[in-house]
């Protein structure tokens, strides 16, 4: 869509605000995400009535109440399933899912992977704060091993999910990652996701200042962030570090590795290709990070084209109707079937 067309609706961020009082804890990262989404929505150039936000359960899942669009606050973990039914039966709508790490990856893990593999036209915003907030502080499926919480006084035992790796394992056609506090970056990833046809999963690192404060500080503090955050731009070399001397390189054995002090023009430096068909490359990128978020690639890991579930389903209906329309005569013939007898 052209900028002019986008602007034609004349919507502003405030048009996407509701009269409902926002009830997250003061300082919660969700506020920044809400502001960024409301600020970005006018750019979509889509009328409010054609946008739907669907969420599950958790702090983040209150999101739809604050968006002046159509919305549904559903049940724990099921938002991707509900959104699948809505999007596939109403391909004219722009359907967004808001979920959290517990909602999407624990109780709703099954629905998430199946939405991704089907490539339903959904934009899924996964607020990852690596903790259960609404139930007051238990460890989540993205918490680091050994996390001491109310339910794990001696430390958690489970290995966490890496949401990006998991999504790529399900062959998601679009996977991005961004940060609540970096509005510009967040908006750029949202924009890319919105432009994508198919399921777009955007993992948003989100600070829960009550139960897991500072989880992503190394990616936020100006002292550390350049050393640990790998900004991905399609077609650009994956260089980072305060002086740009760190890089993602392809080692002799073909694996991706981080190296410090990489000379200018070193041919081993990986040039980011978000459109690579083979999910092995973005998967390898997703494996670079440590459990405590060091070496976190941020941006769009993968964005490839594949027919959407919604479009294919609609095409099957069109094809069937083109062969023989489903009118009253057709229904009458169906009810009769092949073998009938008549009593006069």
């Amino acid at each position: 869509m052209t900028e002019a067309a986008r602007g034609a609706l004349g919507l502003k961020a405030k048009d996407f605000k509701t009269d409902q009082e926002v009830r997250w804890c003061p300082g919660c990262g969700d506020y920044a995400i809400l502001a960024a989404v409301q600020g970005f929505m006018p750019e979509l150039g889509i009328a409010r009535e054609n946008i739907v936000f669907i969420s599950g359960i958790g702090c983040s899942s209150r999101f739809p109440y604050y968006m002046n669009t159509y919305g549904m606050h559903s049940i724990h973990g099921r938002a991707p399933a509900i959104a699948t039914g809505l999007s596939s039966s109403r391909p004219d709508l722009s359907v967004w899912v808001v979920t959290g790490d517990g909602d999407a990856l624990s109780i709703g893990g099954n629905h998430l992977i199946h939405a991704l593999r089907r490539n339903v036209n959904l934009k899924i915003l996964l607020f990852n704060n690596r903790i259960y907030g609404l139930t007051k502080g238990q460890y989540s499926p993205t918490s680091e091993v050994g996390k001491v919480t109310k339910s794990t006084p001696m430390g958690s035992l489970d290995n966490p999910f890496n949401p990006v790796s998991m999504a790529l394992g399900a062959e998601a056609t679009f996977v991005g990652r961004t940060l609540d506090s970096d509005r510009k970056h967040l908006t750029s990833v949202l924009r890319a996701a919105a432009d994508h046809q198919g399921t777009a999963l955007v993992e948003i690192y989100q600070n829960c200042n009550i139960f897991n404060d500072g989880a992503f500080d190394i990616l936020k503090d100006s002292d550390t962030r350049d050393d640990w955050m790998i900004r991905m731009e399609h077609g650009q070399p994956l260089r980072f570090g305060a002086d740009g001397s760190k890089a993602v390189v392809r080692a002799a054995n073909g694996a991706l590795a981080i190296e410090d002090g990489v000379a200018d023009g070193d041919p081993r430096v990986v040039v980011h290709d978000a459109h690579a068909e083979d999910p092995a490359y973005p998967f390898a990128l997703s494996r670079l990070s440590s459990l405590d978020s060091r070496y976190s690639p941020m941006g769009v890991f993968r964005s490839v084209q594949r027919p959407t579930y919604d479009a294919m389903m609609a095409a099957q209906l069109d094809q069937a109707a083109a062969k023989a329309p489903g009118d009253d005569a057709a229904l009458d013939a169906l009810l009769h079937g092949a073998d009938t007898w008549t009593v006069a």
Binding site: Y65, M67, Y70, M72, R78, T84, R90, G326, A344
Partner: protein, 616 residues
């Protein structure tokens, strides 16, 4: 040779064999011939849950029972007059159900010492007197089939597979059935394998000729067509009728349909059927699990579709939370539960009515859901339309409780004219309804208490719904005690109010002098009705009422119950309707229950009811 022709008014036949022997297909074909001939009929397929249970074992026996008559009948029959047993296991598993004097047609091929020993028979029942009192036709069915196909290129194994068609040919001769449609059917089914089609037709004809020429079968029977009211008929199974009812409902509502389902016995055939009819605007979604099946359906309903999800008891248990959400969102949704034996996995291929209380109460909180139940295979069509009417009018999830017996059983069905079906059109809300030009998603229709159905894409009506308690009118989140109390009572009142839209109950009490009333619901209609006829034929009086609406009960039910001295409630569970009736009307009832995975036998019910009448 000339054969004599004997007239019968009714026959019950059962065909039994290995689950790989094609017994269901044989039964279906014989049923189709019988339907076309114009008999009234009722069928009872009975098969194991395993796809291919070990050959020749009792566990692997599959059977198909058909009752056909020259008059109107209600059940597949209590006891077969004729049993066709394709192997020793099929004989052993079924012989106990035969009355003395019944006819047995047994394929002798597998009656070897080894095969008999496998099922615990030390000697051959065909020779040791076990079958005394029956008319036994020991026939070399397999060998005759092989002989008939000796000239073909088929291997012995492949040729032997046609023995079911030989049996069908023999039965078709015995009961003077028309054969043309079976031959056409075989040609179509094996269109891509003409040699198999030819073999089956040859075997079928050989079976017919065998009956015609052999001396062992001296009598041919005739069951005259049953008088039926005028109209065009077809034979239909419950699941097919249910699928057609849903398609018709969507068409009459002028809405697209969305079916979200996960495969489960005995409901999957509805998914299969609906997936074939995309041209009617039907989207079928085979979900990753039961929860996604209903979740996606609810999403589609939010978007304005007629949403349907189909399952059986275990799947309904998984859907419970989402059904609660549907109650809270107040969106139309049809939940079809094709009940089977429980608890847990239970008896997947056998019938039961034990999900009534699950449908009624299987959710957290006060979550009332209307419930309807069909009484016969053909009635599944009308009940689907009624479920849609309630769902769309009252903006509520609705349970439709069918069961395995209705799903797979079949009967003649008078085909309705599309234009005569109820008009189910609804209008989405398109204008703000509030006093200040705002949209109030929970401002209700004063008559039905239904809330507006404003679908995404409608400008100016943007709103949010959810599972948290909502404020009256605005739908905003509300934790206010009075509001919650009001909303809980209002949702209940909405469902209770459906009773005002129901037609008066039909009380079948021909002389209006009965003191005992039998009350039933669902698939027990046939056996109860047949039992009542027996009792009346014997000169006693009994009244019958059969419920289609289980929640809410019709408004006139209480008054009717009060008119009778005794109320008997037969159910294929441990008394679930009886519990609801006692609780609501504070009357005693006589709960008669059976959970054998099979429908009631009319004779047994009649005997029991006779006892109640005599002790009255």
């Amino acid at each position: 040779m000339s054969k004599s022709v004997e007239q019968l008014d009714r026959v019950v036949i059962r065909i039994a064999g290995d689950s790989g022997d094609g017994m269901q297909l044989t039964g279906d074909r014989f049923t189709a011939e019988t339907a076309l001939f114009g008999n009234d009929l009722s069928t009872l397929p009975n098969f194991p849950a395993e796809i291919r249970a070990p050959q020749g074992t009792l566990a692997g026996v599959s059977s198909f029972q058909l009752h056909f008559a020259d008059h109107d009948i209600l059940t597949p029959g209590d006891r077969p007059d004729v049993l066709v047993a394709m192997n020793p296991a099929a004989l052993k598993a079924n012989v106990g159900d035969l009355p003395k004097g019944a006819t047995l047609i047994v394929d002798t091929h597998d009656f070897t010492a080894r095969a008999l020993g496998r099922i615990g028979w030390q000697s051959n029942p065909l020779e040791d007197g076990t079958l005394e009192g029956f008319v036994v036709h020991a026939v070399e069915l397999t060998k005759l089939t092989l002989d008939a196909l000796a000239d073909t290129q088929l291997s012995r194994k492949d040729a032997g597979r046609s023995k079911n068609m030989f049996a069908l040919g023999l039965l078709s001769w015995m009961y003077s059935r028309p054969t043309e449609n079976t031959i056409n059917f075989v040609r179509q089914k094996f269109a891509s394998k003409p040699e198999i089609a030819d073999a089956n037709i040859t075997a079928f004809r050989a079976g017919w000729n065998y009956g015609e020429t052999t001396e062992a079968f001296a009598v041919q029977y005739e069951v005259k067509p049953a008088p039926q009211s005028t109209g065009t008929y077809r034979n239909i199974s419950g699941n097919l009728a249910l699928a057609y009812g849903l398609i018709a409902a969507a068409r009459r509502a002028q809405l697209p349909m969305f079916l979200g389902a996960y495969p489960i016995t005995p409901a999957s055939d509805i998914l299969h059927e609906l997936s074939k009819h995309k041209r009617f605007g039907i989207r079928t979604f085979q979900a990753e699990d039961e929860i996604a099946g209903i979740g996606a359906t609810l999403g589609a309903a939010f978007g304005g579709a007629l949403g349907v999800t189909t399952s059986s008891g275990p799947g309904i248990a998984l859907k419970g939370e989402a059904i609660g959400l549907a109650v809270s969102l107040e969106l139309p949704l049809i939940i079809c539960d094709i009940q089977r034996g429980g608890p847990s996995t239970g008896l997947p291929t056998k019938t039961e009515q034990s999900d009534l209380l699950q449908a009624m109460y299987g959710r957290n909180g006060e979550a009332p859901v209307p419930i309807v139940a069909p009484r016969s295979p053909g009635d599944c069509f009308d009940t689907a339309i009624e479920a849609a009417r309630i769902a769309l009018t009252y903006r509520t999830p609705v349970f439709l409780l069918s069961d395995g017996y209705l799903a797979n059983g079949s009967e003649p069905w008078r085909i309705p004219a599309v234009a005569d079906l109820p008009d189910l059109r609804v209008e989405y809300t398109t204008e703000p309804n509030g006093p200040n030009g705002e949209f109030l998603p929970y401002l209700r229709d004063p008559e039905t208490l239904a809330r507006p159905w404003a679908v995404p894409g409608t400008p100016g009506l943007e709103h949010r719904v959810g599972g948290i308690e909502k404020a009256d009118r605005t739908g905003n989140i509300s934790y206010d005690p009075d509001n919650h109390d009001f909303m809980v009572r209002t949702r209940q009142a909405k469902v209770d109010g459906i009773a005002r839209s129901l037609a008066p109950l039909e009380v079948d009490d021909p002389n209006a002098d009965a003191r005992v009333l039998v009350l039933g619901w669902g698939s027990t209609y046939g056996p109860i009705g047949a039992a009542c006829r027996q009792i009346r034929a014997a000169g006693a009086s009994i009244a019958q009422v059969h419920l289609r609406h289980l929640n809410p009960f019709p408004n006139d039910l209480g008054g009717i119950l009060a008119r009778y001295q005794k109320v008997v409630i037969p159910e294929m569970n441990l008394g679930q309707l009886a519990l609801l009736i006692r609780a609501k009307y504070l009357i005693d009832t006589l709960s008669v229950t059976q959970v054998r995975g099979l429908p009631f036998k009319a004779d047994e019910l009649a005997e029991m009811l006779q006892g109640v009448i005599e002790n009255d």
